[in-house]
Each structure stands twice: as structure tokens, then as C-alpha cells.
Subunit: 342 residues, 2 copies
């Protein structure tokens, strides 16, 4: 169990998730001596009598992925991933070190055949509801094939987790005209336009302001751009909240005004609450792994658990495998090379 | 004169700018028959008796840059650029087609020796005040040398327009650790760390949320990432304003609360007003050209005029030339090649 407030936040998060979804079962991986007393204080979770896999070894928040990969055997993170790899768990949720979680998950779970690289996907609020974006930082550089694979996984994610019937997918660019942007994006657009009979609609290019306006259900981009866009949106949101707080505090009248408007403003805050959108999902791995924000609380962690449970319950992995095959894209990179050489 | 509401908005913008800064002089380029009656209605501008350069030719909003370059001779945009090229004007402000303005400005004004490519810079509000970012979309791909040149121009822009004494410069990346990001960014960081005796401080890498928090005075990035970040911030700002408006309208109490808090909220809106940050500046050209948003009003256009006047008055171009020479970076690309081959 990792994260700034683990194991307390993790146990409490599981309790909240169970309150929302009583069918969940948990395996708790970490220091049993610390977990037991926290578990005893829960209402629902202790009644489920969850298995505790004990270890006092953990991956440090600043450990490099390569170090974690070599020295992380027996750590709580690694044992949790092994449980998914051994099909003893359907999915895993961790609030630990992102790089280490990605490296170890990739090593243990391997990739879905046909997907070359994993991507990190996230959900965010828009004017129209919610959308998903990927990649949020796993791959600095992406070629056209990577982007097409992200698009296919992203639309399945939108169907299984956001419940969108026929997701609309857009490629993030600096303009909507066909000749705009990097070669990889333009090529990906051509490939996506050629895919037919798939349960999603390719919208074409979208721009940065289309992310919060919800023009499409799924935004596809490379990990560099996606990471910058996500953090810019988070930062802008904080800047406006802070300025609004200052404005409300600036006079007696505005303080009274705030008191009257508080329930309404609170509703809006709740809709924008980052905890609601907690849970960065690793897509492309042959197993379901969700990374919770390290600094979140029980409510945020419960949301990450909800995302993992939704993916598992709605057969995310099976759907990816099936739709890649249907699109003729279920070849590994090596198999594609053989075909290209033959 | 271009833009959605030209020439009215342009003439009124000049009037507002003159009200703020009575020392300004204007040359108005466009259709004299439309300009004259609008000019007659102004108070200050008509007293300045501005020269009108007549043309009824203009560049269309959707004209491709290459077309504008070939067929744009005699257009209001081209004539205005020529005035700067011929040193008859100190700077130009246009609300017309961005791509055409960039292509024609580059062709007529040429580059400052030592700068390989022009960059588009903009100003935006932060938690700490205001910062500048470049490139916002002129160059999709940038190498380390481009980024270093942008950093040098960006800090001079922050000194001349934002009045920052010793600007702090950051490179936009997906993490602050040295090994993060593209090779071009890492190499640019090394080059910037090696530059000494310059009137700015290199902070290192910054992330997307550092843009609105104002961690640094100048954010340097390639035009693809900069464009996505800018538009994501604008869109997020609109999403929150819209949600806030909905919240205030949701009940009678919140409507009353809004009435009481309105002056305070208005103050905050004013601080965030996109018109305050209107004016995308083309840096690296051997002349001062500022692009106003096409959809802005007189207030926004006046701000763009203010930015151009500040740059001209504080000797932006001379400072760029001097500081490039001081850093030994005043070679053109061809000269550098000769040195490298010799």
C-alpha cells in the first residue's frame, strides 16, 4: 500500500467503495500489523473478511522504475500486480509510485497482443458531462500506430466506464484542418478514417479548448502533450478557484453573498472535484491496473476502485482483444515486421 | 484592416489606446471611404490627423499563407507590414489572418540575425500576476537551438512589456527531473544552464500547472505544446465560468447571493478578462508585429496596441540584437554551418 496517507486512506477507500458496491471483494497487500487495526475499525470491509497478503517491503515514492523493477520483488506493489498476473485478483488499484507501477505492471502482466505500448487514460469534467483522454504521460513520443491503438482502447474505455454507447473520438492537434500538425497525427487520422464497422465515430482533429468543452468523448494524444494539457487544466482550475475565493472575501457584502450562494457554488465544486476524476488507468496491459493519485483521500481512492471494478465487470480486456481482431490489428510488433519483410 | 469587427473595432481601439497613451501616432491602412466616417466620430484620434493609406484589397480570413504571400501585394495587411519594413512605422497591429500575417511579416521584415525561426508569444494571468509563454503555434517542431533562442527573446519580452527586472525562465516538460522529456528539451536545458552573465535566471523544467501558478515569468515550449496548453487553459476557464453562472442561477438564494457578491466577482472577471491578454506577438522578426484576436473589441485591440508600443518604446529589437551578441548567439544558421564545417 502506497500513497501519502496509506494505509489509512486505502482501507477507508475500500470501505467507501464497498458501501457503493457491496459485491466487491478485496485482497489487501501490505504490512499486516498496520492493516489489522485499521480493518477492525471498518464496518463493511471487516465483514467481508478480506485476505491480507503481508509484506513490510514497499516501493519508495522516489524510486526509479528500473530500480523498482530489479529490487521490488516482494514489495506490496509487486505482490498486488502478481495477484492480477496469476488471475487471483481481477484488477489492482495503487496510490504508489507511478513509474514503478507502470514498469512492474508491464513486466508482469505483459501487453495485449496488438498493442505496442501502454497508455495512461483519465476522465475529466466537460461542459457536456465527462470525457476520457489518453495518453497522459506513459509515452513521450508516439507514432501513428500507437495513436490508432490508443483510439481503439480509449473508445472501449468510454463505453465500459463512462457508459457512452457509441463514443466519438478526436485526435488532439493545433487546428482542425487536415494539413495541420505532426506527421504522426496526420497519418493516424488517415488510418482512423479507414477503419470501418467499428463501434465508434472518428471526429477528426480537435484543439485544446475542445477538451473542456466535451466536443468528443475520447481525446487521443501523445503522452507529452496529454500530460501538459491535463496539468494546465488542473492548474487553471486552481487559479480560478483561488481568485474566486479572494473575490468572495474582499468585502462584507461579498461574504454575505457567498453565504447565500454557498449551496449552489458547493454543487458546482462537487462537479469539478478532482477526487471525482481520480484514477489514471493503464491501458494496453494484459490486466487491469489503476493508479490513484498519491495525495487523494478515501473518497478519491474509492473512485479509482470504482473505475477498476467497472472495467473488470464490463470485460474491458476481452473487448479490446475482440475489437483489435475485428479491425485486423491484433498482430504484435514482431508479427507485423515479419509480414512487412515477407 | 482585418478581424471580425473591422474597421470599426480597429478605429475605436486606436481611440482607446490614445486615451491611455496620448503620445501614440497612427497610420491607418484600409478602405479610406469606410475609415473616414469612423475617424470623424472619434475625439482624440481625429485630432492627431492620422495618415490614411488607402487600399480596398484585403487578405481573407481563410486565405492560405502561401496564397496571401503571392497574391497579397497591395492588401491592407501587406501595406502595413511594408510601412514597418520601410521604417515609416515603429510597429504594426493587425486583427487579420494569423498565418498570412506571419508569412508576409517573415518575408518583408526578415529575421533578426541569430534567430532561426519566429515564435508567437502571449501574456496570461497567473496566481502571482502575469507571465509570458512562447511559442504558441508558429513552429510545430523545435530543436534545442530554437528553444534557447525563444528563451532569450522571451525574457527580453518579459522585461520590456511585463516590466520584470530579472525574469525567471522555465522550459515546459512533463516533470522537473533532468532526465525527463524529449531530447530537444533536455539539450536546451543544458545550453541554457551554460549561458552566464545574462539578465535572466534559468529555472529548469516546469510542468503544465506551473503555467497558471506563475512559477516562472517566461514559459518556453514548442508551438504544438504551447498552442494546446493555451487553448486548454482558455477552455477550462470558460468551463468554470459557465458552471459558476449555472450555479448562481440555480436558486433564488444563490441569485440574491450573486447580486451581493457581483462587484467582487466582477473584479475577478476583469483580472481574468481575455481582452486584457489580447495581442500575440511575433518575436524574432526584424520589426515589431502584434496579432490581435480577430473577435476582440476596442478594449482588446487597444491592449494589443499597448503591447506593440511598449516593445517599440523599450527598444525590444535593439535589446535582442545586443543580448544575442553578448551570448555569442548572433550568427545566422548559415554562418553557424560555415563555422561547423571549417
Amino acid at each position: 500500500m502506497g500513497g501519502d496517507r496509506a494505509p489509512d486512506m486505502v482501507i477507508q477507500g475500500a470501505e467507501v467503495a464497498l458501501e457503493r458496491d457491496p459485491q466487491l471483494d478485496f485482497i489487501l497487500v501490505g504490512d499486516e500489523a498496520r492493516i489489522q487495526p485499521l480493518l477492525a475499525k471498518t464496518r463493511r470491509l471487516k465483514l467481508k473478511n478480506p485476505t491480507i497478503v503481508h509484506t513490510d517491503k514497499s516501493v519508495g515514492a522516489s524510486d526509479k522504475p528500473s530500480i523498482a523493477l530489479r529490487a521490488g520483488r516482494g514489495s506490496s506493489m509487486r505482490l498486488a500486480i502478481d495477484l492480477v498476473g496469476d488471475k487471483k485478483a481481477d484488477c489492482l488499484v495503487s496510490a504508489g509510485n507511478t513509474g514503478a507501477l507502470m514498469a512492474m505492471s508491464k513486466f508482469v502482466l505483459r501487453m495485449v497482443p496488438g498493442i505496442d505500448r501502454p497508455a495512461i487514460a483519465g476522465i475529466f469534467p466537460t461542459l457536456r458531462g465527462e470525457s476520457a483522454m489518453l495518453d497522459l504521460g506513459a509515452n513521450i513520443d508516439c507514432d501513428a500506430t500507437n495513436l490508432v491503438q490508443f483510439a481503439i482502447m480509449g473508445q472501449i474505455f468510454a463505453r465500459t466506464v463512462l457508459g457512452v454507447e457509441r463514443p466519438v473520438v478526436g485526435l488532439l492537434n493545433v487546428g482542425s484542418e487536415e494539413q495541420k500538425g505532426h506527421e504522426a497525427i496526420r497519418e493516424a487520422a488517415t488510418l482512423l478514417r479507414d477503419i470501418v464497422d467499428m463501434p465508434f465515430t472518428f471526429h477528426g482533429f480537435v484543439e485544446g479548448d475542445d477538451i473542456p468543452s466535451g466536443t468528443v468523448d475520447v481525446i487521443v494524444t501523445d503522452g507529452f502533450t496529454g500530460n501538459v494539457a491535463l496539468k494546465t487544466a488542473e492548474g487553471t482550475s486552481r487559479l480560478i478557484s483561488q481568485s474566486l475565493r479572494d473575490a468572495f472575501r474582499s468585502s462584507l457584502l461579498s461574504r454575505i453573498g457567498y453565504l447565500l450562494a454557498r449551496p449552489a457554488v458547493g454543487q458546482m465544486r462537487q462537479r469539478m472535484d478532482p477526487r471525482r476524476y481520480n484514477g489514471a488507468v493503464f491501458l494496453g496491459l494484459n490486466g487491469i491496473a489503476v493508479k490513484s493519485h498519491g495525495g487523494t483521500d478515501a473518497l478519491g481512492f474509492a473512485n479509482a476502485i470504482g473505475v477498476a471494478a467497472d472495467m473488470s465487470r464490463h470485460g474491458f480486456l476481452e473487448t479490446v482483444t475482440r475489437e483489435l481482431a475485428a479491425a485486423g490489428l491484433n498482430k504484435t510488433n514482431d508479427e507485423r515486421k515479419v509480414v512487412a519483410t515477407a
